[in-house]
Subunit: 461 residues, 2 copies
């Protein structure tokens, strides 16, 4: 961490620079004729440095880098409370917003690329049961907590808050399991399979909730039939994208093999991703649903047609784009947390209960493991982290309005961010404990040799 | 080319889609809640497909892909003349503009990364003389043509048009020489060295001209002292960036070697690029000057500190970003050409004379080759293509205003685009002819075995 200090000094200098010159507006002021890209450049420097310093600090504490991006984003946003307003332009910049949205679209595309439909279908009933229980329980717990503590909000707002508790972050769990050398254990396979199914279920719930909110805004009532229609649309989109899109893009990609021009693979992959994201938006779903479907499609295509090598190639080409744009999303989410709302004890209480609901809700997953002799508690703990997906849902909720009011208000957004941070922070140490306990139970037999941990386990917080 | 037909069909379907749904505005219209990123997604799909289809068609005609991007962009822009306005939103979209600007910043960063300062200083007097002659002659020829044909424009506009004729496109010449197996010939080294020096000289001229325009706008007069001050500032920036920036970033990158977080190399490289681009803009230079300087700095750093392997790594990480964003710039430049201005014969005449000035101006480069026994005509022909740099200058000129009027008006912009296309189209076949002639003169001795050309030489136009 000592090594991160000079980087912090540089970030400080940059902030001073931004402050001294003021927020670079899009108006020409004598010097500077670069147009709207100039403030975006300054914003990107601050965001990239904050993301990497935050990521480094959290990785050294044994935590996922994404948390560091979020927390350092919150810290940058909190500078406004200390009277420094040189970065306020970041929150309002359309350019940064568009880059962040492209980042989250590419992230879900990447998640889709890494999820294999065939594997998803083969992980068996345990994964499916774990996933369904792990979606239903937190959803209703979150709804209940929200209805209890925020009686003035509309029912749909409670439902939306419940939805932010559904998803499981594949990335964080997979990372912890890999660090512990447990990726090939049966429990791990159940957790990872369930996390992927959770993504799909979560996206369907998100579609239903946002669709219902759109219907409510246009004055329609929300009967069961409409809800069923939206579920049908979401499922039809995903299945249709997989079947028709898969068939079509297999042909397009085979054709592209005959082209000579450079960069055709990346351009086609991005086009498919952007097209499905766009179509998803036009039919009333979230753009990320389309991006995820595009990832699933292209994973299958590459795998079947061009073999392992080219499949890795799409992911490798997408990787630098994600590495540039995804942190923009997480730092911006952190920036948008209104730290002053934590001054209200009610917000802190709501955040605490929401976090509790999020953790307890996933404990029910243990009941979904139908195979015998497995470490059910580890499976349940592995399902706890919400990571990026909860945040993405909250971000969408903050943009949606119901009867002229944000569905996710700034204090609720802050509480959801706390829930995401808590569930993610709790998982790595808890999983280490439950897995060790499970190994002892089985008489010390360790299915996979556990490597000497590189970093000391650090207490939470 | 037959293989590109299905892709054209898909592009057509997309255009129909865009037309039927209309330009997706940023306002919510029932379906769709994805915010400002949604129209950008549609725009990116159209741009990426147009870029790749255009690139493919032109590559198959033995021409550089960048021309295809430009021409297909012009074709998309021309759809408006045929009564199709579904793509008009592309020209006005701030999101697409920002992505295009990031693309051109990354392109100049990449050019900088590929230029080696040490190599630039070692190519000797021939390269320097060729470069200087090849900047001065077209500059004054272009100025003269503009002053003659556009007597109503201000002197500074003529000067700016002259500036767009200065630069040489390293990329296109290098590509043709590589295709002919001539990259290691002495003539090629002179051309490539001179092209890099041209980039620097061109950027200095651009800085001076834009700075003078800014001074003129704020009511100041433009005496020789001010011009010298701007030259001083530009040179000081480049030298300062190379010395201080090189020293500083060498330390930062060495430090970054101790960091564990993923993506640190890309994040730091982008931060240096964006920071210098931002600083360049704040002191009144163009953002691309800073991006080029950043590339020069990081090329040196990587080379000295971390060896060949990591040096390639920065370029490899930047490559997918460029592959995504650079075509956005060229297609957008094509889109912005007002095809209807070609209906005026005066514009066509201006474009023809400007192209002639651009070609003849570079012929004087032959006099700069001081070594004996070399093929001077090939050196001069190699300096002809303007490619991306001329376009970038014209794009900047279109954004600058002088006394409330664009420095580069739409008809002049169209003429500059024609000049860029003509000089670039002429070079590959002309270079093949002069190099073959030079080989015959030397008694058929071919310094490097010339591979069987893969594609037949296609007549111009």
């Amino acid at each position: 961490m000592r090594k991160a200090v000079p980087a912090l000094v540089i970030l400080g200098l940059l902030l001073a620079l931004g402050g001294a010159w003021g927020a670079p507006a899009e108006t020409a002021d004598g010097a500077g004729h670069g147009g709207p890209v100039v403030p975006v450049l300054l914003g990107l420097i601050v965001i990239l440095l904050a993301a990497k310093i935050g990521g480094e600090v959290f990785e050294r504490m044994g935590q996922p880098a994404v948390l560091g991006e979020l927390v350092f984003g919150m810290a940058l946003g909190g500078l406004g409370l200390l009277g420094f307003h040189g970065l306020d332009f970041l929150k309002a910049s359309v350019g940064i917003e568009i880059l962040a949205q492209l980042g989250v679209i590419l992230l879900l595309f990447q998640v889709g690329l890494e999820s294999n439909v065939g594997e998803m279908l083969s992980v068996g009933w345990s994964s499916l049961l774990v996933a369904v229980l792990g979606v239903i329980a937190p959803f209703f717990l979150g709804w209940g907590v929200s209805a209890w503590l925020l009686p003035d909000e509309e029912t749909l707002a409670h439902v939306f808050i419940g939805a932010t508790l559904c998803a499981t972050s594949v990335g964080i769990t997979a990372r912890v399991l890999a660090d512990l050398g447990k990726l090939s254990a049966r429990e791990s396979k159940i957790v990872l399979g369930a996390a992927v199914i959770d993504d799909v279920l979560g996206l369907v719930i998100l579609s239903v909730v946002s669709g219902t909110i759109a219907a409510a805004n246009s004055g329609g009532s929300l009967d069961a039939l409409d809800t069923l229609a939206i579920i049908g649309k979401a499922v039809a989109f995903l299945v249709g994208a997989l079947l028709i899109g898969g068939w079509l893009s297999r042909r397009v990609f085979r054709l592209a093999g005959f082209l000579k021009v450079q960069g055709i693979l990346l351009a086609l992959a991005l086009s498919v991703c952007f097209l499905l994201a766009y179509v998803a938006d036009r039919i009333g779903l979230a753009t990320i649903v389309g991006a995820f479907a595009a990832g699933l499609i292209l994973d299958g295509v590459q795998y079947r047609e061009l073999g392992e090598k080219t499949k890795h190639k799409i992911e490798e080409l997408i990787h630098p784009l994600c590495s540039f744009l995804v942190p923009v999303f997480f730092v911006l989410m952190g920036l948008r947390v209104d730290l002053s709302s934590f001054g209200q004890t009610s917000v802190l209480g709501f955040a605490a209960l929401l976090s509790l609901a999020a953790v307890l809700g996933k404990m029910i997953c243990a009941a979904g493991v139908i195979e015998r002799g497995l470490d059910r508690l580890s499976v349940a703990v592995g399902m706890v982290p919400r990571g990026e997906v909860g945040l993405i849902f909250a971000g969408i909720g903050a943009q949606l309005t119901l009867h002229g009011r944000s569905v996710i208000t700034p204090p609720v957004f802050a509480a959801v961010v706390v829930m995401v941070i808590v569930t993610t922070l709790v998982t790595p140490p808890a999983l280490k404990i439950t897995l060790a306990r499970g190994d002892r139970k089985r008489g010390g037999a360790r299915p996979v040799p556990e490597p000497e941990p590189e970093r000391p386990a650090v207490p939470l917080g």
